[in-house]
């Protein structure tokens, strides 16, 4: 299975199209609308917590369970979104031309800014109750997962072999049946892989969004994230270690009980007839398969699905006849609607910016954006220099790969923000320069993507190619330059794209970090957004968010996307 990076690499063009611009206006307009609404909803002081948090280790399993549950709910919602949004985008070219660029922009929006503008709105849904905060938390995780998953699914749907589709039509399957029996199974393996990656990123957001303060609104939902926030405030190192342990267990449980079985199960949907060398195995899946109880529980659903396949909408023949005229009228309506939406979005953005923002504000944000950009790039470069050779070394040794690869994936899933307090306390103790020493925190959790992608690349290198290099006496630097580095390059690019995207998101929490009462500040766009959030200054939140999205999109377009296609064209081993 080919692993795709979690950003849009579909379009090869450099310059934004009209659709990109419209998508950007719509997303920004949406954020502005939320921010505007939130400004009026903020009440003087509201503090929402389930109950007071004490760092009692006996409570920790319960907290870990709640954190895990939020994750599961968000995953369910993301799946529902994926199945509808991506299918709509793939099936309806008219919708797809907007929906795909929209995903691209949505992906670039830093998720923690999203949280800050939406949370007040969610709280207003159920004033004074925890439910709103729970919704906001789940929504944040959703935003961290749904876009990538929808992208993966969309790309798979577009590449369903036409003969499968035709076979389905010939057997008279309706489009609902075709979706569940042909398209969804075909797209399952890459989607599940993507879910795993999204889940990896998700742990980071769930722990952050459980404890957040927007202006004067403080939220602390019972969970590992809040536990950590309290531990930081109390400078309680042992509580932090307990949280790390709890998180390790939660991730391990998810991996063993959910994802291993899913991956092993989805292996049957791989379309390439090639017998894979090592089929994924899962002890949990074996248990599920043998369980009669599970059979009984799922049987009604299966029956319902089977019935649903037979259902045909009554007016089938009629629709085909009128489609031609329909589509022209619909086209016009659609474009008019989009035009109006775009105008309204632009109007809202203008109205928001006019009274509140000066050009100087934009200048500040962009300047800080460059600082963060430099940090991200330098750190990705350093991480690459370290992990690429190590990844190649490991990947060429199957036994070592078997040990290191799961560990690297595990580390990528581990929410690095839990480790921040350790680093921050060290910076405080040794009185180091935060502008330099806070930066590594940005790649703390994301560097592993580079490592495990490179390992995958090196272990996929055909044996005969390695033999050929050895047979012709290719050694030393010549070997690295001509053989090893080119062979892993496409994999490295995928890893680096993922790592870079994650690092931008992490900058919001990494550039401002606290330990007890000491708060460390680095100069950068992440710190700018974080400060605006804690001050409840929505106009700077929106500005910072827009500028960061812009940086992410531009870097993707002018660096990662061309690099990806260059790697695909030149270095991909077929």
């Amino acid at each position: 299975m080919k692993i795709l990076p979690p950003v849009s690499i579909e379009a090869r063009r450099l310059l934004p199209s009209r659709w990109d611009v419209l998508a950007a206006i719509l997303v920004l307009g949406f954020i502005v609308a939320f921010a505007d609404a939130s400004r009026f909803l903020v009440r003087p002081l509201s503090s929402i917590t389930g109950h007071d948090l004490f760092l009692d280790p006996w409570d920790l399993p319960g907290y870990a369970l709640r954190t895990g549950l939020r994750m599961l709910i968000a995953m369910g919602v993301s799946l529902a979104f994926t199945f509808t949004y991506a299918t709509w985008a793939a099936k309806n070219p008219r919708a797809g031309s907007l929906l795909v660029p929209l995903l691209d922009i949505l992906q670039s929006v830093p998720i923690l800014s999203f949280l800050s503008v939406t949370i007040v709105w969610f709280l207003s849904l159920s004033p004074g109750r925890v439910f709103g905060a729970e919704l906001a938390c789940v929504f944040t995780i959703f935003c961290g997962q749904a876009w990538n998953m929808a992208f993966s699914f969309y790309q798979s749907l577009r590449t369903v072999p036409p003969e499968l589709e035709e076979a389905g039509r010939m057997f008279g399957l309706n489009s609902w049946a075709r979706f569940w029996r042909i398209e969804a199974p075909f797209a399952a393996p890459p989607l599940i892989w993507n879910m795993m990656m999204s889940m990896s990123g998700g742990w980071f957001f769930v722990t952050l969004s459980e404890a957040i303060s927007v202006g004067k609104t403080n939220i602390a939902l019972p969970g590992v994230g809040s536990w950590i926030a309290v531990a930081i405030a109390q400078k309680n190192l042992s509580a932090i270690f307990e949280a790390i342990l709890a998180m390790l267990v939660v991730i391990l449980v998810y991996d063993q009980l959910l994802f291993r079985p899913l991956v092993a199960w989805a292996d049957r949907f791989r379309i390439d007839n090639e017998h894979s060398e090592d089929q994924p195995e899962s002890w949990a899946l074996d248990v599920y398969r043998r369980s009669k109880l599970l059979d009984i529980m799922t049987a009604p659903f299966e029956q319902m699905m089977r019935w649903s396949y037979y259902w045909h909408p009554p007016s089938f023949g009629l629709r085909a006849a009128t489609r031609e005229v329909d589509s022209r009228v619909a086209d016009i309506l659609w474009y008019v609607l989009l035009g109006l939406l775009g105008l309204y979005g632009a109007f809202r953005i203008y109205g928001f910016a006019d009274g509140n923002l000066q050009w100087a504000d934009l200048g500040t944000a962009v300047g800080l954006g460059f600082l963060t950009l430099i940090r991200v790039m330098v750190l990705i470069a350093i991480a690459s220099l370290i992990w690429t050779p190590i990844g190649i070394y490991v990947g060429l040794r199957p036994r070592l790969t078997q040990i290191v690869q799961p560990v690297a994936q595990f580390l990528a899933a581990f929410p690095a923000n839990i480790l921040f307090p350790l680093a921050v306390s060290a910076i405080v103790i040794f009185d180091l320069n935060p502008d330099v020493w806070l930066s590594p925190l940005m790649v703390l959790g994301t560097q592993w993507y580079i490592l495990f992608n490179v390992i995958a690349g090196a272990s996929n290198m055909p044996k005969e190619l390695r033999d050929a290099a050895e047979n012709f006496g290719v050694h030393g630097w010549l070997w690295w330059k001509r053989v090893a580095l080119p062979a892993v390059f496409p994999y490295y690019v995928t890893g680096a794209i993922t790592a870079s995207g994650g690092s931008w998101n992490a900058s919001i929490v990494a550039e401002v970090a606290s330990w007890g009462t000491r708060t460390l500040h680095a100069h950068g766009l992440g710190a700018y957004i974080a400060d605006a959030v804690s001050a409840g200054d929505f106009r700077r939140v929106v500005l910072g968010t827009a500028v960061m999205s812009f940086f992410v999109v531009v870097v993707n377009r002018i660096l990662w996307r061309p690099l990806y296609w260059y790697a695909e064209r030149k270095f991909r081993l077929t």
Binding site: R289, R290, E464, D467, A468, N471, F472, R482, F571
Partner: protein, 430 residues
């Protein structure tokens, strides 16, 4: 004539799970003299390619010795170049860069490197393709790059690992004749060639000597000298005699071993089965029953007719022998009475014949059926039989044997198998 390579009593094992070792090569001897092409012939799994990798110094033997021009081989040897079955070209390098790779490793001056690379490209007939990338070339042209890359370092020994088996018939023949011609003219800067193949005619066409390999473990079972002048004519009677002779050698030995395994031992379940689908068996039976064979054929003829290579034909013929649907004797294959009935039968009767043959002549199939009959649930997990088989054979051989028996039993409707649950049972899905 000078001795280029000397291999004595070489033994190679691979570690497998549970601290066991799989013996791949056992007591293999081989010499290569100047001006010789030596063929290593045998079916896959007989360790030919393993031997080639040992000669190239890409891996080390557990016993015995290898020496190149009198010096022991301890690592990759300069002067031994290899051509790979899958071409093993670097997709990110052009044809010229691929060819130059071996020269770069020798650290030659740029000018000399270029001249030699262009000369090799010219010699192998790749003019005009210097700046193309491998993906732009057809299979045949890709393998030419493989040859050019090997030839350019002026090796004393050229090792070829089934270099034509990934090519279509016409391209392969074209490349073979070109190579033989270049070799005959003395234009190749090479002193000796070792060719690994599983194609009997290819071996007879190109080699001066052919070593026949037997499998499990790989051993050299006999050596045949091909005394024909080059260029050789595939249609000449002498050529056909050599092909026949090799067929007889290879089948006689295998049939003998199978008979032994079938008659001795306790239940006879320790006989490893090679995967052959019932469709292949039916296909060959039909071909044999039809004109011009009328139930009896020369193995080389029917292999040629059915476009089957040794690797494909032998397992099918063996399966037929095992099921007593045909007799293999001295290079011939002949349908038995049951075989003829099978050929004339309708689908249902065929299944019946097949099922009876399984019960009577394949001890493992009969054994599984018996276990299933005796159990109250009429089902048994796969591990029940896999563990039993692994007492007698290696892990992957056990897997393949079980897979084979499942596919046969499905055809004969003897029992069924659910892969998801890894469960054998008597019930057929409704």
């Amino acid at each position: 004539m000078a001795e280029l390579l000397n291999v004595e009593h070489v033994r190679r094992t691979f570690p497998r799970g549970g601290g066991e070792e799989l013996l791949v090569l056992d007591d293999v001897n081989l010499t290569l003299k100047e001006g010789e092409i030596v063929g290593l012939l045998g079916r896959s799994g007989s360790g030919k390619s393993t031997l080639l990798r040992l000669v190239a110094g890409l891996s080390q033997p557990q016993g015995g010795s290898l020496s190149y021009m009198g010096a022991p081989i301890q690592g990759p040897v300069q002067g031994v170049a290899m051509v790979f079955q899958s071409f093993a070209l670097f997709p990110w390098m052009t044809v010229l860069e691929n060819v130059q790779l071996g020269l770069e490793a020798l650290n030659l001056p740029t000018k000399e490197m270029r001249e030699r690379a262009l000369a090799a490209i010219d010699l192998i007939g790749l003019d005009g393709y210097e700046s193309a990338y491998p993906r732009e070339l057809s299979g045949g042209m890709r393998q030419r790059v493989g040859f050019a890359r090997a030839v350019v370092v002026h090796p004393n020994i050229l090792l070829m690992d089934e270099p034509f088996s990934a090519l279509d018939v016409l391209t392969a023949e074209n490349l073979r004749t070109d190579l033989v011609e270049l070799w005959g003219n003395g234009k190749l800067p090479i002193k000796g060639i070792i060719l690994v193949t599983h194609n009997i005619e290819e071996a007879v066409l190109m080699c001066d000597r052919v070593l026949l390999f037997s499998s499990n473990p790989g051993r050299v079972s006999s050596e045949i000298k091909i005394d024909l002048p080059q260029p050789r004519d595939r249609t000449s009677p002498q050529f056909e005699d050599y092909v026949d002779k090799i067929y007889v050698e290879m089948t006689a030995r295998r049939v003998e071993r199978m008979r032994q395994a079938q008659t001795q031992g306790n239940a006879g379940i320790e006989l490893p089965l090679h995967h052959v689908s019932p469709n292949q068996v039916s296909g060959l039976i039909e071909a044999l029953a039809a004109a011009p064979y009328d139930g009896k054929a020369d193995l080389p003829d029917i292999a040629y007719e059915q476009e089957l290579e040794v690797d494909e034909l032998f397992p099918v013929a063996e399966a037929m022998q095992l099921l007593r649907l045909a007799e293999v004797e001295g290079g011939d294959i002949k349908l038995t009475h049951m075989g003829k009935r099978f050929a004339d039968a309708e689908m249902n009767e065929r299944k019946e014949i097949f099922s009876r043959a399984l019960m009577n002549h394949v001890p493992l199939a009969a054994h599984i059926r018996k276990v299933l009959d005796e159990r109250a649930s009429h089902s048994a997990p796969k591990t029940r039989f896999l563990d039993e088989l692994e007492d007698h054979m290696a892990e992957d051989a056990a897997e393949e044997t079980l897979k084979t028996v499942v596919s046969w039993a499905r055809f004969g409707e003897l029992f069924s198998y659910d892969d998801d649950a890894a469960l054998f049972s008597l019930e057929n899905p409704t």
